[in-house]
Amino acid sequence: MTMSKTTLRLAVAAGLAGLMAAGAVQARDFTISSWGGGYQDSQRKHFFKPFGDSKGIKVLEDTYLGGWAQFKAMQETGNRPWDVVQVENSELIRGCEEGLFVKLDWSRIGPKSSYIEPAVSECGLGVVVVSQLVAWNPKNAKAQPNGIADFFDLAKIPGKRGVRSDPKGTLEFALMADGVDVKDVYKVMNTKAGLDRAFAKLDTIKSQIQWWEAGAQAPEWLVSGDVVMSTAYNGRIAKANKDGHGLKMMWQNNILYVDKWVIFKGSEHVDTGYEFLKYFSDPKREAAFTNDYTYGQPNREAVKYITPEVMAALPAGDHIKDALDTGREDSVEFWLDNSDEIFERWTAWKAK
């Protein structure tokens, strides 16, 4: 039985070492949460990694895919698994109001004036300008969409469609496809009939919807042919095209987001969070990111360093002339007021 004894000793030693190691690494490193996939890879390359190296610290990452649930858990329990996260507008306002995020002291970041107006907020610093739009793979699609209405037209373009598994944005697309003018979307959706109308429009293609949660899934499925078209973030599609996939985008009635960085109040790394925001807001660094990953720049200074080809591909100018801006007051207010009920109805509707 000598062999077993040795094995036993080894096992116990390994286990004890494990327990001790577990104790030793209990303190949490600085943690940033962003939106995953190639986007986060690029952020890591341009911001997270060099920031960590310059400070000599470890930067951990997580993925956040929108929604309030994770924040609610943090409120309920006082846990702060993240220090900095990139959020959308309605979560930003709500988290700021409920005291979850730090009210920013701009003197510790940089001049407010260098940012476009929608990128500056009480608790948030603009990260990127993102457009959600319809994209398709010309190799697979039997027809190409000529407008947002075609996305909802199974007779004209049969086949699976990728749609973000989130009512925010998706319901707006449905109403615009149903003929509602961009500026009236929330007026219509604020009524019971209008909301029913959005769900009814989605019902017409529901059997053919393939839900995506992570932004990276949309281009993946377009390339693999699992869907004929998909709603997607413009930067992700541009990235896939850099890899030679030749996907197409339709800018008509796209939905515009200016996501923000926020710092969690009560996290153990608030100061590092500020240092990160300062590091992030360097115009050259931000421009280098945009040149690599085609999302718009909220920093006016950075625009100087962006190449003309990239400039032409950004969600700006003609591309956003009929876009729906989620930073609009009626948009933010609508989702603040209704997101709980709509999310519940959405979950129920989706699972049906």
């Binding site: 494990g18 190639g38 951990l60």
Partner: protein, 275 residues
């Protein structure tokens, strides 16, 4: 399973069909696992055949310190600690449980193995609700405790099974020769039930090493394990580096399976020679 020589043609045909069906089921069982492994050494980023060339670049990707090697380190730390905790607790309890008879024995046994029957998602939800309040969410301790809960039934079952075939007269003999109970346990009982304990420990290790649902609910980035990273990778970045990680996990679990099978084979042989 030879066919008798007097089998009719119909029986022969049926027999061949039967074998063909079984062969297909085996193909079904093994194919998806076997077929993806070579993709991990593909030189292209497509997850398909034919491979345009062979390259180790995807293994280079996963052997970068972040995120995969950190995840591997986390997995090993959590699984080792879980193994020790579950094996010690489980072995002691199994020993106590088999040494006496009492009225509530079935009830205690049911409690000890219940984590195996409750769906993972519920155990994870329960941990999610309560661990955060105990300050255990997003900590290694929390992950280790939750994984130990999941792993302990396997230890209890394997060790109990071994103890049932164990002759307690040996302990009595040792004690009558003057060995105190503790000494008798370590010198007589433990060596004899060692194969069962080791199998249980390996089951505990694998349970923790492969676990993803609890990790999804309560782990923070600092504790992300390999399966947890693999889960986000499957959604975010479906490329051969994911397959390389899967290959790594397959190799680890297959080697552990080999150890368990070897142990079992040895103890069976031992039992046979004794008989």
């Amino acid at each position: 399973m030879a066919l008798p020589p007097h089998a009719s043609t119909g029986q022969r045909i049926w027999h061949r069909c039967f074998q063909a069906i079984c062969a297909l089921v085996f193909v079904f069982l093994l194919l998806p696992i076997v077929v993806v492994i070579p993709i991990s050494v593909s030189s292209s980023s497509l997850l398909n055949y034919p491979l345009p060339g062979v390259s180790l670049k995807w293994f280079e990707v996963i052997f970068q310190p972040y995120p995969w090697m950190l995840a591997l380190q986390n997995s090993v730390v959590i699984a080792c600690a879980t193994t020790v905790l579950a094996t010690v607790l489980g072995t002691l309890a199994a020993y106590g449980l088999t040494s006496i008879e009492f009225r509530f024995k079935p009830l205690v046994m049911a409690l000890l193995i219940s984590p195996m029957m409750v769906p993972l998602v519920i155990t994870a939800l329960a941990a999610y609700f309560l661990f955060a309040r105990m300050g255990l969410a997003g900590t290694f301790t929390g992950m280790i405790l939750a994984h130990t809960v999941l792993a302990v039934p396997f230890v209890v079952i394997t060790v109990t099974a071994t103890l049932q075939g164990f002759d307690r007269n040996m302990v009595r003999a040792a004690q009558s020769l003057g060995a105190p109970p503790l000494r008798a346990f370590f010198k007589v009982t433990l060596p004899l039930i060692m194969p069962g304990v080791i199998s249980g420990a390996i089951f505990a290790f694998v349970t923790s090493f492969d676990e993803v649902v609890v990790a999804l609910f309560i782990a923070s980035p600092a504790q992300f394990t390999l399966p947890r990273q693999l889960f986000s990778g499957l959604r975010d970045n479906l490329d051969p580096s994911i397959v390389a990680i899967a290959t790594l996990l397959i190799v680890i679990s297959v080697s552990l399976m080999a150890v368990v099978e070897l142990l079992r084979w040895r103890s069976e042989k031992l039992a046979r020679t004794e008989a």
